[in-house]
């Protein structure tokens, strides 16, 4: 019996009345439909007995098709290379599901998002505040429902207050320090409310999604399969390629498209180049958050050749535009392969020097050791991924657990540390950079000849595909439900930073204000990945003009409100 069959029979045995339908479209995918009322005991079994890890939840509005909403929870059984989708059907006249947050704390944001975007309430959720839609969004408009148009504009609301919590019992004596919505160090839109006593942080809360773009809605309505990779690439400014590759993998899985091996290898090479670029960027940012701008400048100087390299390969420094469902668009000629090998040789030497100096730096270690701790139990409960998880001893790496593209053909070791602090995360990222250099050499040596693109015909409707990949920040997952007329019906993205941000309040407990930027920085946050930003509406051609006086008055008003 295969793993999937094992798991299926286990579930059928323990929950005979719960299972309504089971499908196994590929060997490593198991899709179950279950009764909504019985979801909690099943979730408990999956999380605590089978040690599954929650990847994401997807809410889909299928009322025009079969009259139901669907809420699916997607789990990964890392040690068995299995992705499990558990779907519950929700009738539109009773839009609620039992909450599983008290079984899996990491489901907190997922259930809030499903409510914000589809109006399906999670019964028993400990913290049902608004998460994704902006503070002035009207209460009863749920954007991802099929009856809401993609260019809907809500009425303007002047006075809004972000849903950040007030101090609780043991924070009564604390001062409230508002970090954001614009914070100069992080240079991203994020709003943390810190409760501080002197220098020590006693509690925190987070309001994000300022840059929510609504790309999932856009996909459901106006884009087609070949246009989405370019949208997916722009989800993130650093791991864009992984997102577009992961989307293509999801579509290829759903439609049963066989990607030619050369394309798989090219995808893997570009992903590893992106990993090198991202980790060097992170090293620089970590230095910047500590006030050590020299590390920033030197790390980014060492990183620059990889940007020139990918510009020569793909035509752009960051938005590679290489992926389409079925393969890649540009080839790696032998000259380009030589160029890659030369560049990474030089970069490896310089990175070794820089990392060597950083690791021996006593002051740097003083700032990073024992700061921002995340215990292994918390790491598992909040379902964090990537270097953040591996620093807390949770040995997960999508390239090993659910091999994709050319990764089954190469050998490498995953970095793992046990000390759970920022120093561990730094060491892991440094080690991964060197592993990536080695992987690139292995992949180029084994690059097979052949086609770059498969023949993609019509994509059949109502097929589900789940693509997962290891971005530099952690695991990225895309879910696609194909629809009619060669267009997708639902696309859901879960970026790596989504669970990580839920873990940040745990990391901030007991730390100092001075540590705040580096703690948030240590998860390598990609706020735009998490938030999937705003489209500019071209429909109304009337420009809205604010005079400088207006803007100043509005900003003062806002600051007063935030205080």
């Amino acid at each position: 019996m295969t793993t999937a069959e094992n798991v299926l029979s286990g579930i059928q045995e323990k929950f005979p009345a719960t299972l309504l339908k089971a499908q196994q479209p590929q060997t490593d995918r198991l899709y179950l439909t279950v009764k909504r009322e019985e979801i909690r005991p099943l979730t408990d079994y999956l999380f605590n007995t089978l040690h599954a890890r929650l990847i994401m939840s997807v809410g889909t509005d299928k009322t025009p098709i079969d009259g139901n909403y669907e809420v699916s929870y997607i789990y990964s059984l890392d040690s068995r290379n299995l992705i499990l989708l558990v779907k519950e059907l929700v009738p539109p006249n009773d839009p609620q599901v039992p909450s599983v947050t008290n079984i899996i704390p990491g489901a907190n944001w997922h259930e809030r998002e499903v409510y914000d975007l589809l109006g399906i309430k999670a019964e028993g959720h400990p913290d049902p505040r608004r998460l994704v839609v902006s503070d002035d969004w009207p209460e009863d408009v749920y954007p991802l429902r099929k009856d809401v148009p993609y260019n809907f504009r809500p009425p303007i609301v002047r006075e809004v207050k972000p849903p950040l919590r007030e101090p609780n019992e043991n924070e009564k004596k604390a001062t409230i320090l508002s970090v954001g919505p614009f914070f100069p160090t992080l240079e991203e839109p994020a709003y943390f409310r810190l409760f501080v006593e002197g220098e020590q942080i006693v509690g925190s809360d987070y309001r994000g999604f300022f840059a929510h773009r609504g790309i999932e809605k856009l996909t459901d309505t106006v884009l087609d399969y070949n246009q989405i990779p370019f949208m997916a690439e722009r989800i993130c400014g650093i791991c864009g390629f992984v997102h577009s590759a992961c989307y293509c993998m999801a579509v290829e899985q759903a439609a049963g498209i066989e990607v030619p091996p050369r394309a798989q290898y090219i995808r893997s090479i570009m992903m590893e180049l992106e990993r090198v670029h991202s980790h060097l960027l992170w090293l620089g940012l970590a230095g910047h958050y500590l006030g050590f701008d020299t590390v920033l400048m030197q790390a980014w100087r060492i990183r620059e050749p990889v940007m020139w390299l990918v510009e020569a390969i793909t035509g752009n420094r960051k938005t590679y535009g290489l992926n389409l469902p079925g393969g890649v668009r540009r080839d790696l000629t032998p000259e380009l392969c030589d160029q890659i090998l030369q560049t990474i040789e030089k970069m490896e030497k310089e990175t070794r020097e820089l990392v060597g100096a950083a690791v021996e730096d006593h002051t740097l270690k003083m700032r990073l050791e024992n700061v921002g701790r995340l215990s292994p139990e918390d790491a598992r409960k909040i379902c964090v991924v990537g270097p953040t998880a591996r620093a807390s001893g949770v040995d997960i790496d999508t390239r090993k657990d659910h091999p994709y593209c050319a990764f089954p053909e190469v050998k490498f070791k995953s970095a793992l540390q046990q000390s759970c602090d920022i120093w561990a995360r730094t060491l892991i990222r440094a080690e991964e950079t060197f592993t990536s250099f080695d992987l690139i050499r292995q992949l180029i040596a084994k690059l097979p000849p052949g086609e770059l693109m498969a023949n993609v015909g019509n994509i059949p409707p109502w097929r589900e595909g789940i693509g997962i990949a290891e971005a530099p920040r952690g695991e990225v997952a895309h879910y696609i439900l194909t629809g009619l007329d060669n267009r997708p019906y639902r696309w859901r993205v879960r970026a790596a930073t989504y669970p990580q941000l839920q873990a940040v309040p745990r990391m901030l407990e007991g730390m100092q204000v001075a540590d705040f930027p580096i703690i948030v920085g240590s998860i390598d946050p990609c706020f735009s990945c998490t938030e999937r930003v705003v489209t500019v509406d071209r429909a109304t051609k009337t420009p809205r003009i604010y005079t400088k006086k207006d803007l100043l008055a509005m900003s003062r008003q806002r600051t007063q409100a935030l205080r």
């Binding site: 106006v222 884009l223 070949n226 246009q227 989405i228 370019f230 949208m231 722009r234 020299t294 400048m297 030197q298 100087r301 620059e304 020139w308 510009e311 020569a312 035509g315 752009n316 938005t319 535009g321 668009r329 020097e353 820089l354 100096a357 021996e360 730096d361 006593h362 002051t363 500019v536």
Partner: protein, 188 residues
């Protein structure tokens, strides 16, 4: 007051700092003087797209693949206008990839700041051919010419002539084919 170990630690720290400073100084200055000095983009850089009006067929393939939907095609008065607006262009080069005649190309130009939004539009106007039966313009002249020229495969000895219905719009083609089929059935 301070143990020897601490002193050695301090000396080690100082040496690692000096090593760090040397790494930095050895690199020299790596920033370029752009924009005070020019910095051209490398080959095959995906920059501003442009349409070559002398080759464009008016097929509309570019309009159907553009991810931000910034290429539009509309017909008015026996003229087809293909308009490319690159104010929100993503420089993905899909239009270049899909264009059957190579009229849509991505230059290596990336310095696109301008004061007027109208400078972001490039449009090509193409003459259309009216249907022989109903007179509605249905295809551009250039496309029809190309279809006629390429209708006969080059290896055929006897030149094939383009059939009559090439000059009819789609509705009239259906009508005409229907009538022909009806006639054939009646004759059998």
């Amino acid at each position: 007051m301070r143990g020897e170990g601490a002193v050695r630690g301090e000396v080690g720290e100082m040496i690692s700092k000096i090593k760090e400073a040397l790494i930095c100084l050895r690199a020299g200055r790596v920033t370029f003087r752009y924009p005070l000095a020019p910095m051209p983009a490398p080959k095959r850089f995906r920059g501003r797209p442009t349409i070559d009006g002398s080759k464009c067929l008016g097929c509309g393939a570019c309009a159907s693949v553009c991810p931000p939907r910034m290429i539009s095609m509309h017909d008015a008065d026996r003229r087809r206008t293909v308009e490319l607006n690159y104010s929100r262009c993503t420089y993905c080069a899909r239009c270049q990839e899909i264009c059957p005649v190579g009229s849509m190309t991505c230059t290596e130009d990336f310095e696109l700041a301008t004061k007027g939004r109208e400078n972001y539009s490039v449009a090509v106007e193409l003459e259309m051919v009216p249907c022989r039966d109903c007179g509605t313009p249905f295809m551009t002249q250039r496309m029809l010419k190309k279809m006629i020229a390429e209708f006969c495969p080059p290896w055929m000895e006897k030149r094939l002539q383009a059939p009559e219905w090439f000059w009819l719009c789609p509705d009239c083609r259906i009508q005409s084919t229907g009538l022909t089929m009806e006639r054939n059935i009646r004759n059998e």
